[in-house]
């Protein structure tokens, strides 16, 4: 149950990342999982130079910049392209980032040290032994979500971003620089992913090819919650995580991922607007 919530919260972060970019630009970023991987990798490398908190902070900042850079380099110039092109280019980016990670680091599985305690230290709650890292994950993720929510709700920038996603033309008329907002959205979503990559690294490990799996499950979470609704995405993420960890009871562990993807397909086919979303006629599906 707790492992489900932990991994689910990571899916939730990926799902929020999807939402951020989707609502600002209308692009579904297939490279979302790569940000998580990069976050973990960069932090592991920086750890040899600086202390753990600095390494995490540094990695989040670096990956944020990387996200902004991607937007500036590729998506800003490609506004006029069709959705098909956009999808393909994010897929291309995902591969290139994966391969770059493979060549910069290697195919070895890495991990950060546990933030407090070590592999065997546990905290007893209601008779269940839980690693302290679980609390780090849950704490960081919920703090990030709350801060993000406040940012969207109350800060000028956050409001401007919401304006962009609800009506880009009106936002532009109101004097908001939409292009910059898109860059910020990419940066934010990359930074969030990197943070998730850091906190999950001690228990779930970081590997160069973890991206696509995370992206798919994060997408499943985003869809479950309904795209464009970050808070519902959190619930979606938790649901996917819990389903995945419970599926081990029913099917062999080797098929664990299959169940998560099956959930995705099922939701896509049955309720493409999400469990909490309203069907918006003709938006997602036609016929």
């Amino acid at each position: 149950m707790f492992s489900g919530i932990t991994i689910g919260s990571i899916y939730a972060v990926v799902a929020i990342g999807f939402n951020l970019i989707y609502s600002a630009t209308g692009i579904l970023n297939f490279a979302q999982g790569e940000f998580v991987m990069l976050g973990g990798m960069v932090a592991v490398s920086m750890l040899s130079v600086v202390s753990l908190p600095l390494a995490v902070a540094g990695s989040v900042i670096l990956v944020t910049l990387c996200g902004c850079l991607l937007e500036l380099l590729f998506f800003r110039r490609l506004r006029r392209h069709s959705i098909l092109h956009m999808i393909i280019i994010t897929i291309g980016l995902s591969i290139v980032m994966q391969e770059a990670a493979l060549h910069i680091w290697d195919e070895k599985v890495r991990s950060l040290p546990y933030f407090t305690g070590n592999e065997i230290s546990t905290v007893q709650i209601f008779g269940a032994a839980i690693s302290p890292q679980v609390f780090w994950v849950l704490g960081t993720v919920s703090a990030a979500i709350v801060i993000l929510h406040l940012f969207y709700r109350y800060s000028l920038y956050g409001r401007a971003m919401r304006a962009c996603s609800s009506n880009p033309e009106a936002a532009m008329l109101a004097g908001i620089n939409i292009a910059n907002m898109r860059t910020v959205a990419f940066g934010l979503s990359a930074g969030l992913g990197a943070l998730a990559g850091c906190v999950i690294s001690p228990s779930a490990m970081t590997q160069y090819d973890m991206g696509p799996g995370l992206a798919i499950k994060g997408f499943a979470a985003a869809i479950l919650g309904g795209l464009g609704n970050p808070m519902a995405a959190v619930l979606g993420g938790l649901a996917v995580g819990i389903c995945e960890s419970f599926s081990i009871i029913l099917v062999p562990a080797a098929y664990k991922d299959v169940s998560a993807f099956a959930i995705l397909l099922l939701v896509l086919f049955v309720r493409p607007n999400g469990l909490f979303g309203k069907p918006s006629g003709g938006h997602v599906r036609e016929c």
Partner: protein, 363 residues
């Protein structure tokens, strides 16, 4: 198909023969092996071209269909059914030529397996069923959702292949027997059969090409292009968009599965990496590089890049090369390299005729 396409087809056939003669003459026949494999991979690309270029539907699941075709052939032609040898239906099927007794390569015992033709047909039927099951719900989704749904499907297939003992887990299946496709013509990677297999693979690729081009220039093709340009409009014109999209999906899945089946017999084995997301992305790359709705361009690029990749020219950067090509092509030349090139040639020739009076932008 118009006359120009027939001319191109003749040109392609001539090139295929010329390459074979050169390779044999220069004593470099081993190149033909990779060219044969490239031709089979091109079948997948051509099929995807129909779906992506003409109907405008992105599928990241074609690696999975390739693997389904390949694995069906591999499992059926190697899995021993000797347990049921006494059963009545086994006798019937044996007499009908569906099952055959064969010597095991490793311990000399005889085993009861499906014949390659039966396995191929079973793979085709199975693919149609799977394609309809996957395609019917997912083609009602648009854009991102469709890509994600097909990616999810291919990841499921990949995980199932990796996890189930029937498909040999991570090792895949080897020891797949050669396939005597016609009397005197066998799909097999054996050295003496290299040249005949090379021609066979190209014959199949060209047949697929002719088939697809005829399809595109028919009522169906026009309907598909109408869907590409505007699904709502196509719907309003009375085109049953769902049915046509499903048809394109099934046709392209069938081509992918057929390619998988052929290549499995040619390589005498198949591994789970064929179903990985990377493979599917690679097919999408090849279609994009060829110019999306350009069968000739896709075929050319697919053969070229697959050949280079199979020869190992890209080394450990294999995947990265495909990723970078994908990004560059889409961001710099979203219509592929051939259209701007064609426009340029056209512009130059019209300029010469019209004495340079033609507006440059209009070409």
């Amino acid at each position: 198909m118009n006359r120009r396409n027939y001319f191109h087809l003749l040109l392609l056939a001539a090139a295929v023969i010329l390459i074979q003669l050169c390779a044999s003459g220069l004593n470099k026949e081993f190149y033909l092996t990779q060219l044969t494999m490239s031709a089979y991979y091109s079948l997948v690309v051509l099929g995807l071209c129909l779906l992506m270029g003409c109907a405008g539907q992105a599928s990241l699941g074609h690696g999975a269909f390739f693997a389904i075709g390949g694995y069906m052939s591999a499992v059926l032609t190697t899995h021993n059914l000797a347990v049921w040898q006494k059963a009545v239906w086994a006798g019937w099927l044996q007499r009908a030529g569906v099952l055959v007794l064969q010597d095991n390569l490793f311990d000399g015992t005889s085993q009861l397996v499906f014949t390659p033709w039966a396995a191929f047909l079973a793979a085709m039927v199975f693919t149609i069923v799977i394609a309809i099951l996957v395609g019917y719900p997912s083609l009602r989704l648009k854009g991102h959702y469709l890509a994600m749904a097909t990616l999810g499907f291919s990841l499921i297939v990949y995980r199932l292949l990796l996890a189930s003992p029937l498909t040999g887990s991570a090792d895949g299946i080897n020891g797949v027997p050669p396939w005597p496709i016609l009397p005197g013509l066998t799909v097999s990677g054996e050295k003496p059969l290299r040249i005949s297999n090379y021609y066979l693979s190209w014959l199949i690729a060209m047949m697929a090409l002719v088939l697809l081009m005829n399809l595109v220039h028919s009522r169906v093709g026009r309907a598909l292009r109408a869907i590409h340009d505007g699904e709502t409009a196509a719907n309003a014109m009375g085109i049953n968009t769902g049915r046509f999209k499903l048809m394109a999906f099934v046709v392209s899945a069938l081509l992918a599965a057929a390619a998988g089946s052929f290549l499995t017999h040619y390589n005498a084995g198949i591994g789970p990496s064929e179903a990985s997301a990377m493979k599917s992305v690679r097919y999408v790359t090849l279609v994009a590089v060829g110019g999306m709705d350009n069968f000739w361009g896709s075929l050319l690029m697919s053969v070229l890049l697959n050949f280079l990749s199979l020869r190992g020219y890209f080394g450990t950067y294999d995947h990265a090369v495909f990723g970078i090509i994908l990004i560059l092509i889409i961001s710099l030349m979203p219509d592929g390299p051939f259209k701007p090139l064609g426009n340029l040639i056209q512009r130059l020739s019209t300029n010469r005729i019209a004495g340079g009076k033609e507006k440059h932008g209009s070409a």
